[in-house]
Structures are given as structure tokens and as C-alpha cells.
Symmetry: C3
Subunit: 202 residues, 3 copies
């Protein structure tokens, strides 16, 4: 189950990374690199931090084939869209939701403290995008005033509350991952931002 959801997360994040690369006119290898980094960066960091052996994609080459398929899909698909911005952001929101909760579940299985579960879910969700941004020389999404990582953190909290309320694991997954995707899309649609210190009067 986790495996399957990770695979979908990898696919949508790979598409989002590939579209970002195509948008910047990179060569096909660069596009594939950005796709791969976005897709497996977060889960790789999660596995390294939790000492999971093997790292998910090292033990299962299907993840890499998924990335290659996603790149081809993005290549053929992107000419159908006038503007790549929109589909890229939606794929990205979906990946964020899937990865954050699956990352949280991995930490949960190791019986980590709640605050560590929240952190690990957030890291799994955002690290791939952060590495993509660092490699591209873009200010990382983490430090822009977007509601992005905060959406992931809130979603994991919702997941933990759902578990405490004894929702079934699958239901908790769906509820919390959807929360993240919705929060992210609403924030994008209405340009919502988190307050900074000045606007709070500090």
C-alpha cells in the first residue's frame, strides 16, 4: 500500500520536475535529472534520516522506471498545454500530499514521537522540491512566503488526530492527504500567505 502510494507520488513529482526542466529549456538529460531529484529527493532524505536499508529506490528499480515513463509523458504531454505553470502546480500539490503522509507513516511505524512524525512527513514532502530549486538556482519554495511546507505539516497533524480518533489508516491517509492538496490549491488560488514577524507586530 505504502509502496503503491509512493509510486504515484514519485510519478506526479517526476512530472512536476520534468515540466520545470522543460520550462527552463534544459536538455533531455537535465530534464530527467530534475524529474528524478524532485521525485526521489524527499523519500531518500527520509530513508537516510530514519536509517532504512535499502533506500526505497535502491531496492526497487520500478521507481526509476516510473520516473523515466513520467519524463516521456511530460515530453509528449506538455505540447498540449499552452502554459505549463498550472499542470505543474497541480501535480506538485498532489505529490506533496501523498509524500507527506506516506513519510509520516514510515516514521510512525518506527514509533517516533509525534513531533518527529510531523517533521519527517514534512521533510519527505518538501525536500525533493527544495533540492530541485537549489539545483535550478531558484529561491527554494521553503523560504518563499507560500503556504507549502506548512500545508504538509498541517496535513500530518490532521493525520495524527485522525489516528487518535481511531479512524482506519486508509481513511486517515485519504482525509489528511486531501487536506494538504486542498490547502495548497486554495492558497495558490487566493494567493494566501503566512504572516511574517512584522505583520504580527513583533
Amino acid at each position: 500500500m505504502l509502496y503503491f502510494l509512493d509510486l504515484i507520488g514519485v510519478a506526479v513529482f517526476a512530472i512536476s520536475g520534468a515540466l520545470a526542466g522543460l520550462n527552463r529549456g534544459l536538455d533531455l538529460f537535465g530534464v530527467t535529472v530534475l524529474a528524478a531529484v524532485t521525485a526521489i529527493g524527499g523519500g531518500t532524505l527520509r530513508d537516510v534520516l530514519l536509517h532504512r536499508d535499502p533506500i526505497f529506490w535502491v531496492g526497487a528499480p520500478s521507481y526509476i522506471y516510473t520516473i523515466l515513463a513520467a519524463v516521456i509523458l511530460a515530453l509528449f504531454g506538455h505540447s498540449f498545454f499552452a502554459d505549463l505553470e498550472q499542470p505543474m502546480l497541480i501535480a506538485d500539490a498532489l505529490g506533496l500530499g501523498l509524500f507527506a503522509i506516506s513519510g509520516a507513516q514510515v516514521a510512525e511505524e518506527q514509533k517516533r514521537a509525534a513531533v518527529v512524525v510531523v517533521l519527517m512527513g514534512t521533510i519527505t514532502g518538501v525536500a525533493g522540491g527544495v533540492i530541485r530549486d537549489l539545483l535550478s538556482g531558484v529561491v527554494p519554495v521553503l523560504l518563499r512566503r507560500d503556504i507549502y511546507a506548512s500545508a504538509a505539516a498541517i496535513g500530518v497533524v490532521v493525520y495524527l488526530i485522525s489516528q487518535a480518533l481511531r479512524l482506519r489508516r486508509t481513511s486517515a491517509f485519504i482525509v489528511s492527504a486531501s487536506t494538504i492538496v486542498l490547502l495548497r490549491l486554495i492558497a495558490l488560488r487566493y494567493g494566501l500567505q503566512l504572516p511574517n514577524a512584522k505583520s504580527l507586530g513583533f
Copy 2:
């Protein structure tokens, strides 16, 4: 003991990271991210490179609570200072000293070669700040002509010499960590720099 010193190091580095974030007008989440990255980046890299399981903060959520407390402290505290530069640099020097020596001690416990102990202490001291700088799009402190990482390296050498001279471990810690803090503050005060190849006549 190591645990307690790590906790103080985490607190001062978190404050330094949070002040850097406030300085740049980031939102509260971004401020917390910079605080966390600065505070646990170096120790995390040390633990990954030395295969310590679990990573220090994954096994002990108190580190994360310390970071959250430090962020709140920085938030309320920073309005008391006209200029954030000074307190940030002092907190940072303190964190550098604590982390470099505690990182060296971890490598020492694994009976690594002296040169590996020096490297690991330096990495523990500087990696958090380097990741903070990378995320912020600033030229990393490592490559500015400041005496920063070199102060950490010298301090660890002082620590190893103190041990060879049979100083007690605590005394060696205090002597060498103070060396780093002093070197760093003196370098800042007098604008000292290391020579580059040209100025050495190469």
C-alpha cells in the same frame, strides 16, 4: 553531558538561524525552517556520516522543542535589539564552538583517526550554517574569506592536543570550545582573514 551541550548548541544555533530569517522578512514558517536547519544540520550530517542510529533528534524530540522555544525567544527578543547583526554573530560563534567539539567527541568515541576527528568536528560546526546559507541564496560562510570553519578546525586540534596532554575531558572541552569562540569573535572584531594564494606569492 554530550546531550546537554548538544542541546545548548542547538538552542544558540536555532536563535542565530531564526534571527537570520527575521532579518530577511521571512514568514514564521520560513523562520522556523531556517532555525531548524541551522540548529540540526551539522549534527545530522555528522550522524549520517558516522552511521549513528538513530540520528540525534530523531531519537529525542526534546531537540525539536528546543528549536521551537528558541524561535519564540528570538521572535520576542529581536525587538529589543536595534540591530540583529551583533547578537546573531555571537550566538553563532557560541554554537560553532559547542558543536565542533561535541562533533569531534563523537568521532573520538568511534576511535577514528585524528584527521577524521578534526574533519568531523569542523563539519558538525559549520554544516548547519552552510545549509542555511544555501537555502537563503547567500554565498556560504565556508567560502567567504572569514575565519570561520578554520576556527573550528583549529579548536578541534587544540582539543586533541589537550587530550594528548592528559587534560580531563571536560577541561579539554572548555579550553577548546572557548578557543573557537574567541578566535571567531577576534576575527570578527578586527576583520581578520586568511591569506589567499596570491597574497602568499603562489
Copy 3:
């Protein structure tokens, strides 16, 4: 054997990193940092991703001494060259070839899938240079339209084919590492680039 080739790879990459640092007028510590990061970055990431304990240079300080020697060599050597660009690029091509195939062999010994072997070889070859570029604030070589990482990937494929054709391991190493070095130097000499999506008509 792997140990010896890794050592040569570390030396040439350290020289390439040191020359890059000298080129940018960094202080001697900064030059050493760039040399070290370029030299051990790729192998470190490989060892972390494959959970090898200890990380190659943590268990064998000779790597660090090699880096220090390479920095001294670069320091005395660079005044003999009117222009550092050329020797730096050749050292880099050599390091790329050695590291990519030795990285592939490590993954091969763990009996990983072919596609994981290719990825791991490529990562071992390029990650050091990517970290060097990130620290230097340069667009990473990975995303420039150079034939760089793609040369590493092709070389590892040649290695796997040589193995399938039952070439002896040493011969396969020489053939495939040479392929990478040649591809890289030819690409540099003639300014070859990979196509991007637009030029392929997507």
C-alpha cells in the same frame, strides 16, 4: 584495487576542485574545502545511499591526506599554467571516469538492478562537482547543456555491456572509464551538446 582507483579519483578531483577555488581567489581554507568536497562528495553520497559502513574516507584517513597533498600540488603547480581552465577540465574528466565506474562496481557488488547501478555510478561521478558548484554559487554542471553526467551514464552502460560480454573486470573498467573520459573531452573540444525538447520538435 577499488581502493587504489578511488584514491586516484580523489586526487584528480581534489586538484580540479582546488584549481576552481584558486581561480576564484578563495583563501587557502576555502580552496581546501572545495578540493575536499569535489573529491569525496560523490563517493560519500554513494556510500550513504548504499548504507556502507564506514563511509570510505571515515574509515581510511589516507583519502584526506591525499586531498591535502593534491591541494599543495595545485598550489605550486598552478603558477606553471597561464590558464587554469584546461588542466582543470582534464583532471575533472579523469575523475569523472574513475568515480563513475568505481561507483558502479560498488552497486554491482551489492547485486543491485542494472538501472540502479547506472544511477549510482553517475551519482558517484557527478555529485562532488554538483556540491562544489552549489557551494560556489555556480549553475551546477548537471543542468548546463554540457555532456557531463550523460557521459558518465553512457560509460556505466558500456561497463555493464562489457561485463555481459564476459570481459574481465579490469578490462571492462579500463574500456568504460576511457569511454567516459573520451566522450567528455570530445564534447568539450567540439562544444557538443545534448538536444533539448524544442530542438527535437516536442
